[in-house]
Structures are given as C-alpha cells and as structure tokens.
C-alpha cells in the first residue's frame, strides 16, 4: 500500500510538471520524471508525506460526492446572492453545533470544508465530534442539521 501510494504521488507530480512545462522533448520529460521521484523521496525522508496529503483512499467516493456538492454550492450561492442584493438584508445569523459522524481526520476535514465551501455556512471550530458552524440564515442552519451532507461525506469516506 505504501509503495502504491508513493507511485501515485510521483505520477500526480509528474502530470503537474508536464502541464506546467508544456515541452515534450525526451530530455525534459526525463528530467521531470526524475524531479518527481526525487521530490517524493525527499518528502519521505523529511516525513512530510502521508495519507492525508494525498488521500488515495477517497478516489471512489469523491466521484459520487463532488457533483452533489457542486449543485449544493450553486444553490446556496444563489440564495446568498439574493440575500445580499435584497434591499433590507433579511439575514438571521446563528451559531450552532453540528454533530459529525466521520471516523477519520480526512473525512472530518472534508465535511468541515464542504460546510465552509457552501456559501451561507462556515465551520468556525471543531470541538470533539461537533463542528461549530456559523450560518447566515435559519434556513441554511436547518438544512445542515438535516444531516444530508454529513451522511454523504460519511458514505464517501466509507467507500474506501
């Protein structure tokens, strides 16, 4: 698993190099590959590389989760934009605590980031297995308490 993970990191870095360089001569491609391998090797020696930085285990779940997340983001961004241009600014900010059912730190980060990414809700702090969330409207808070996002992130995490 460890070896497989390292190879995956090398491939990602190499693709990144190719995209940034844009030259496909044999020499430069070889240099790129060598640099990718060296970087991963150094990273191993410095102990800065782990499952969290390159969460390969999520590859299956993410495909199901992201489309739903993007639809959610568009919907809530539209709602927040309507609130902003509303002449009376009808907001009712609340601070609430949401339980999260994720087991791994990666899953928790994913959930917290998803909350922040959807406009209208921001994860402020994590305390135990609860996230302190600031919501712009009561409706947004109710949506979150409904727990659909939590369920989907957990499902995405569990698919690993």
């Amino acid at each position: 698993m460890q070896r497989f993970h390292s190879i995956s990191v090398v491939i990602s870095l190499f693709v990144f190099w190719l995209v940034l360089s844009g030259y496909f001569t044999p020499f430069l491609v070889t240099v790129g590959l060598a640099v990718s391998v060296l970087v991963v090797w150094f990273a191993h020696r410095m102990d800065v590389i782990d499952q969290e930085g390159h969460p390969l285990q999520l590859r299956g779940g993410v495909v199901h989760y992201w489309p739903w997340l993007i639809v959610e983001i568009v919907k809530s961004a539209w709602t927040v934009s309507r609130l902003i241009v509303h002449p009376r600014l009808p907001i009712s900010p609340t601070l609430l605590r949401v339980k999260m059912s994720q087991r791994t730190p990666v899953g928790q980060v994913m959930y917290a980031n998803s909350i922040t990414l959807t406009p209208g809700t921001i994860s402020v702090a994590i305390e135990g297995d609860e996230i302190v969330v600031h919501a712009l409207t009561q409706a947004g808070a109710d949506d979150l308490v409904g727990g659909e996002m939590d369920r989907r992130v957990s499902a995405c995490e569990g698919r690993a």
Binding site: F16, V19, L83, V85, N113, P119, G120, I122, A125
Partner: protein, 110 residues
C-alpha cells in the same frame, strides 16, 4: 459552432463577473465579520468557477485549459481552508457573531 461557444463563454464570464460584484457588495454591506465571510465565499465559489469555466470554453482543449482546471482545484481546496482558519482565529479571539437586535440599521427577521 465557435459562435455558440463564444456566446456561451461570454455569458458564463459575465455571470461570474456579476457574482464577483455581488460578493464584493456583500462584503461591504454585511454587518459583522462572520456574515461578511459568507459574502466573500460567493466570490470564491460561484464567481471564480463561472469565470474559469468561461475561460475554459475559450481555450478549448489545450495545455492552458489543464492549467485552468488546476487553478480551479486550487481555489476549491484552498479557499475553504483559508476561510475556516480565519473564522477559527476570529472565534479564538472572541469576536462575537453579529445579532440582528444589536445592529444599528436595517435588520429584519425573515
């Protein structure tokens, strides 16, 4: 065909521009720090995504589009991290969320 793509990308980019302006207006208009963050996240998500999508249509299938996709991923991974860290720091410093009754002007519950 290229006409259609041009028009589509123009629509997407102007929509993105509109959302950026709306977000900026929100940052200026909202009361209290946390509520401003919600407005800023409109810029980070919808505004940026629509503009990048429009540019993607313009660039077609090339290296530039790959870079734009990377840019988009960067925004999507980093902007919530930055927002959360700011909100967290404000929370630690004891910045209180704005409440409708303490505000000076124009507040009404919906």
């Amino acid at each position: 065909m290229s006409q259609v793509i041009d028009i589509l990308s123009a629509l997407l980019m102007s929509a993105g521009g509109v959302f950026c302006v709306i977000g900026a207006v929100g940052v200026l208009r909202m009361p209290g720090f946390y509520t401003r963050m919600h407005a800023a996240s409109v810029i980070d998500t919808l505004g940026a995504s629509l503009i990048i999508l429009g540019l993607l249509l313009q660039s077609g299938f090339s290296l530039a589009s790959a870079k734009l996709v990377i840019l988009w991923l960067l925004i999507f991974f980093c902007s919530p991290t930055a927002s959360h860290s700011l909100a967290n720091a404000a929370h630690q410093r004891g910045i209180k969320p704005w409440q409708p009754d303490q505000g000076a002007s124009s507040s009404s519950k919906n």
